[in-house]
């Protein structure tokens, strides 16, 4: 295939050629960045939470006014919840994964450290925390019965002891705090001036929200402190996935039966699956939106290419007829237009890649986006080459079907 005649033709149609190049470049740049953002959102939506999502129900209840009996009533609630047929375990906790509201604490490795090294979220756990959530302990051990304390005692400084001697942490947090070391037995400082010792490592456990960004998603600590229902108002109940609806109804009844001086928060009493879905709805709709825009952009670009290519074919009808009369095959005419499009697309893609990086730089500076990984560039390039070839095929076919006799006609 001779490229020189194509180039010299393009030189005579600079404006139209430049427009196609520009359109491809813009589309390439936008699509590369959009694809990157889409994959980022998809990663978020499919993140590992570390809990038995399909088996969990969350019930939220609050007291009207202060409840002097909140600790005793919490124990009664839990006993009643655990007695529901089909319930495997039930726990009370200060915060819930995907529940947004969270408790956080600065973590120091040494007591004398001026600044905390990071900010971690703190779950307060009772005896059934690990069994209910389905958290997987990969190193060390769970709390033993004598390690649990009442959270109220500690928070209200009863006995003037604010120490939390032991804790579970996630693997992500262990790797950040003690890189390359065995975290079991290591100490850190969080709530008090006395150290907390790591006794177990959980495979995964996410924060209730996205505080601190993706890298801090699993900066999670669990303290063996029994809370009561007025600290966040969260009961989690674990059951079989297919029994969730039935258990939810019964659990609601059980809690309502506990007295009419409390309000069951219906809109917050959901399955963990529903909570997760709500939590990620923003990311999900952004991913869809970006996807729709990408498709629309490709469509517009394809139609633009078809439009201009058809115009060129029409303009060069006579020229094509002459070439056919001089012995050019249909295939050669077809390939002529395909090659022409390939050249234009290549120039557009080259410019588009530079532009994609420029856009990414701006986004990185302003909106804490990550750096665009290099493999998005060939992906975007392949898409646009493919798109160009697809779009030019119909006009090129029409060109190839121009009969040689056209050359002999006058107009």
């Amino acid at each position: 295939m001779e490229i020189r005649p194509i180039l010299s033709t393009l030189r005579r149609h600079k404006t139209a050629a430049a427009l196609i190049v520009l359109e491809i470049a813009l589309t390439c740049a936008i699509i590369c960045n959009s694809l990157f953002m889409i994959s980022d959102r998809i990663t978020q939506v499919f993140e590992t939470s570390g809990i038995a999502e399909k088996e969990l129900l969350r019930l939220q209840i609050v007291s009207i006014g202060n409840d002097a009996e909140q600790d005793a009533r919490t124990r009664a609630d839990l006993a009643a919840l655990r007695a529901i047929p089909g319930v495997k375990a039930a726990t009370v906790l200060n915060q819930v994964p995907f529940g947004w509201s969270s408790w956080n604490s600065g973590i120091r490795l040494k007591q004398e450290d001026e600044r905390p090294m990071l900010n971690a979220t703190t779950y307060l756990a009772d005896e059934q925390f690990v069994d209910t959530l389905g958290v997987n302990i990969v190193a060390g051990r769970n709390f033993t019965a004598d390690e649990y304390r009442e959270a109220t005692d500690l928070l209200n400084r009863i006995g003037n002891d604010d120490s939390v001697p032991v804790a579970l942490i996630t693997r992500a947090l262990a790797e950040r705090m003690f890189p390359g070391e065995d975290p079991i037995g290591k100490e850190f400082y969080a709530w008090s001036e006395s150290p907390t010792r790591v006794i177990g490592v959980m495979e995964h456990l996410v924060r209730p929200n996205t505080l601190g960004g993706p890298s801090a998603r699993e900066y999670t600590i669990v303290f063996p402190l029994r809370t009561h229902y007025n600290l966040g108002g969260n009961y989690l109940v674990r059951t079989d996935p297919e029994r969730r609806q039935e258990v939810m109804e019964q659990a609601k009844q059980v809690l309502r039966a506990g007295g009419n001086d409390r309000i069951l928060m219906e809109e917050n009493s959901l399955t963990m699956e529903e909570m997760r879905s709500k939590f990620h709805s923003g990311s999900r709709s952004m991913a869809w939106l970006l996807g729709v825009v990408c498709v629309a952009l490709m469509l517009i670009t394809a139609l633009g290419i078809i439009g201009l290519a058809s115009f060129w074919v029409q303009q060069r009808t006579k020229q094509i007829g002459v070439r056919r009369a001089l012995g050019a095959t249909r295939g050669q005419i077809l390939r002529y237009f395909q090659t022409e499009n390939f050249i234009l697309a290549s120039i557009g893609i080259a410019i588009g890649m530079l532009l994609a990086f420029a856009i990414n730089q701006v986004l990185m500076g302003k909106y804490d986006t990550a750096r665009l990984p290099l493999y998005y560039l060939p992906t975007g390039a392949l898409m646009l080459w493919g798109l160009g070839q697809l779009a030019v095929y119909a006009p090129a076919r029409r060109a190839a079907s121009i009969p040689p006799a056209t050359a002999t006609r006058s107009a």
């Binding site: 936008i30 600044r115 309000i263 115009f311």
Partner: protein, 433 residues
Amino acid sequence: MFSYYFNLALRSFRRDKALTALMVLAIALGIGACMTTLTVFRILSGDPIPTKSDRLFYVQMDAGGKQGFVPGEEPADQLTRFDSEALLREKRGLRQTMTTGGFVKISPEREGQVPFTTDARYATADFFAMFEVPMLYGSGWSHADDENRARTVVLSKEVNERLFGGANSVGQRVVLDRTEFTVAGVMDYWRPTPRFYDMTTDRFSESEGVFVPFSTSRDLNLDRQGNIDCWGDTGGDSTGPNAPCAWIQYWVELESASQAGAYRDYLANYSEQQRAAGRFERPTNVRLRNVMELLEHFRVVPNDVVMQLWLGFGFLLVCLVNTIGLLLAKFLRRGSEIGVRRALGASRRAIFAQCLVEAGTVGLFGGVLGLGLALLGLWGVRQQPASYASLAHLDGWMLLLTFVLALVASVLAGVLPAWRAMQVTPAMQLKSQ
């Protein structure tokens, strides 16, 4: 002349339906995407209280402990209760209020109604006048009520509907968290967007259902909501009068924006005194931001919305480049027609004008279709779970802007093709016939 060109444009559309439809569709998609994202952006970045946003100031000062101090860092987002109460006592502004978010349980006394929960706001008397809260019945409470920890409450229109069927309930009894309150006033519908007075909770949600004096809320230990940041030993009570915790939003209204400097000096002075007294351990670091500065500082418009706006404009740009290309093809394909017109005496300027009218006409159709797409897009936004979703409506200005944008964009897109079209030499075109 214009109507003649317009007529020619319509004729030309009829001749080349596919190409015209393609151009109209491209402009419409671009305009639709752009207007959808722009409308959302405009709603979220608007001035929530335009009459006095330059005179309302949000106070921040660094009350944190020595531990963790980084020179040059922003002071905490909120104030401590101690400092808020001190500033409030000194009353250096025209009006001032300390406020924080809360959560209460209402037990209706009417037959057949069940207890329900609602978001609450704890504030001091000036809140209502400062933020121009519209009142349906009654008014806010008085400074004396603040001092006496009065069991007084202002209801939102919605809560008043629910409890009293919308009747004038001033003086009526309401039971909040088992305590009897008297209704001082009922607000008319009020939803400043963004909800600027508290940056720590959902910034685009509805305003709260009940408003209670701050002092009363502490007296009864009502539930608190929103961020709280503690640094020293709280002694088990993080909302106590001396607790080292920042959880209060403090606002001051000045008589004019120009008094901000003097007030800032006053704050710096206060901060110095606290340091001298040993309460503040960090160097004086105060901030005084007016409403729009505050919204900017807290980046109130979500990143995704800004990103969508850029995406919308990027999309429009591609659509325009596309339209330029197609218009060029369209005009040049009619080279012979233009040649004939030129030969019959039409000036270059006339050809140029005719081409621009044709481009503008494409834009007009694109605008109409784009408007439809924008309405569809906004409907889509309203189906989202975001708290601002229900606000996504096109207003008169945005409607106008849709057409202006469509026309300007398409005429701009037409300039280059029209320029090329008017360069057509009549002789060449006529000869080739």
